[in-house]
């Protein structure tokens, strides 16, 4: 027993890991056909084709005309949410904050609000909210959308990393694209054409050039409040 003890310890750990992995695989397989694995995309996916899938301006957000009196915040934070199921970027221009949460497949939400005195307060369509803090080169907090919430800690990023958005009308179809470019060069984005979200084609962060349905669009870094178009 004594000489076998260490081996039994190893095997016990292996067995425990095997059980956990098996349970994981079972649980994940059951949810595998979920068209919305990240779970927050219902808002974008169900919006009526006739209406713009853009953000309803949150009523409580400070209008761009009335920025906070304190030092105006200018920063961009971007990173994966805890658990890695989605990516978030927050772009702040003179205290006006725009956040984009996106899984790169079909779930996305845009939020708008304020960044002042170390606090982030944003809101988006269908009751989506983001509350957090920033400072020391990072932003952290909780974003809630579609009845689920994610915690995140995102580092400050510099161009070409950041948050990009493109809006256009292509052959009478309203196109809204959002991209998050991370410091490692990877991109996560969704383009919504007439209310139908889908993974976005890669954008050139240097020029913002991107081709959607054969049409050349230009994505621009998000600065200041979103416009419906």
């Amino acid at each position: 027993m004594k000489r076998n003890g260490p081996l039994i310890t190893l095997l016990a750990g292996l067995a425990l890991a095997a059980v956990l992995i098996t349970v994981n695989l079972t649980v994940t397989a059951r949810g595998g056909d979920d068209p919305d694995p990240a779970g927050f995309g219902a808002a974008a996916a169900t919006s009526a084709p006739a209406t713009a899938p853009a953000v309803d301006p949150p009523p409580s957000s400070a209008p761009p005309a009335g920025p906070p009196p304190a030092a105006k915040v200018n920063a961009v934070w971007a990173g994966k949410v805890d658990g890695g199921g989605a990516t978030i970027a927050i772009a702040v221009t003179d205290g006006v904050a725009v956040a984009y949460l996106c899984d790169g497949k079909k779930a996305e939400v845009w939020l708008q609000g304020t960044a002042a005195a170390g606090k982030l307060e944003l809101a988006g369509a269908k009751g989506a909210t983001l509350a957090g803090t920033f400072g020391g080169g990072k932003a952290a907090g909780t974003v809630t959308a579609g009845g689920r919430s994610w915690k995140f800690t995102a580092p400050a990023v510099k161009k070409p990393s950041g948050l990009y958005r493109a809006t256009a009308t292509v052959r009478n179809a309203k196109v809204v694209g959002g991209w998050i470019v991370l410091p490692d060069g990877s991109q996560v984005g969704i383009v919504t054409v007439d209310g139908q979200p889908r993974p976005a084609p890669a954008v050139d962060p240097a020029t913002g050039a991107v081709t959607v349905d054969g049409a050349a669009l230009t994505a621009t870094p998000v600065t200041g409040a979103l416009t419906a178009n």
Binding site: G5, T9, G13, L20, D82, A140, P155, D184
Partner: protein, 185 residues
């Protein structure tokens, strides 16, 4: 070990080859799995905590605490706190080690399954490397323990490596979590 030291024989380290090889296999396998497997973002977890991260930081904290017990009991067993260490030190060392290992396994499963090998910043990179290294080093230690005739430095070196890795893992995860989000359950 004690017998070998008594005879003053220079023990060959050849007995370590197989454990080291298997440990390397474990480390590389974990790293490859963590890199290749697409992180799911979710994994089964223990109820009663506010979130998976909270579960992990407390499991890891338990493992780190037991690692301190490991260090203390190991030092005592090797006579660092005076001769004639009490007989209960051995069982305490073995069972605290098993406890630490078994606490670390669910954390690692969650890391590898839900998050994957991450190189996002220095903290996640160090954590990913240490995590893979820890289970490899632990494998080497477990496979070396029953072997007789290994050099005297084997167990202190392996034990020290395992301990250092686990503490490093705790610092790059739980301590970071506690200092970033505060201590919560």
């Amino acid at each position: 070990m004690a017998a070998d030291e008594g005879t003053r024989r220079i023990a060959p380290a050849t007995g370590l080859y197989v454990p080291l090889l298997l440990g390397a296999v474990v480390t590389v396998s974990l790293g490859v799995y963590g890199s290749v497997h697409t992180p799911t973002g979710v994994s089964v977890n223990i109820a009663g905590f506010s979130g998976p991260m909270e579960v992990k930081v407390w499991l890891a904290s338990g493992a780190a605490l037991l690692a301190l017990v490991q260090l203390t009991t190991a030092l005592a067993m090797w006579g660092k706190f005076g001769p004639h260490p009490p007989g209960w030190l051995g069982p305490l060392h073995r069972w605290s080690g098993r406890g630490a290992f078994l606490l670390a396994v669910p954390v690692a499963v969650h890391c590898l399954y839900a998050l994957g090998f991450a190189t996002y910043d220095m903290r996640t990179l160090a954590h990913s490397l240490l995590g893979c290294f820890f289970f490899g080093a632990f494998t080497v230690k477990m496979l070396s323990l029953p072997k007789r005739g290994l050099p005297g430095w084997t167990l202190p070196l392996l034990g020290g490596a395992v301990f250092t890795a686990l503490i490093g893992l705790w610092l790059t995860s739980s301590l970071w979590f506690f200092t970033t989000f505060g201590v919560r359950f």
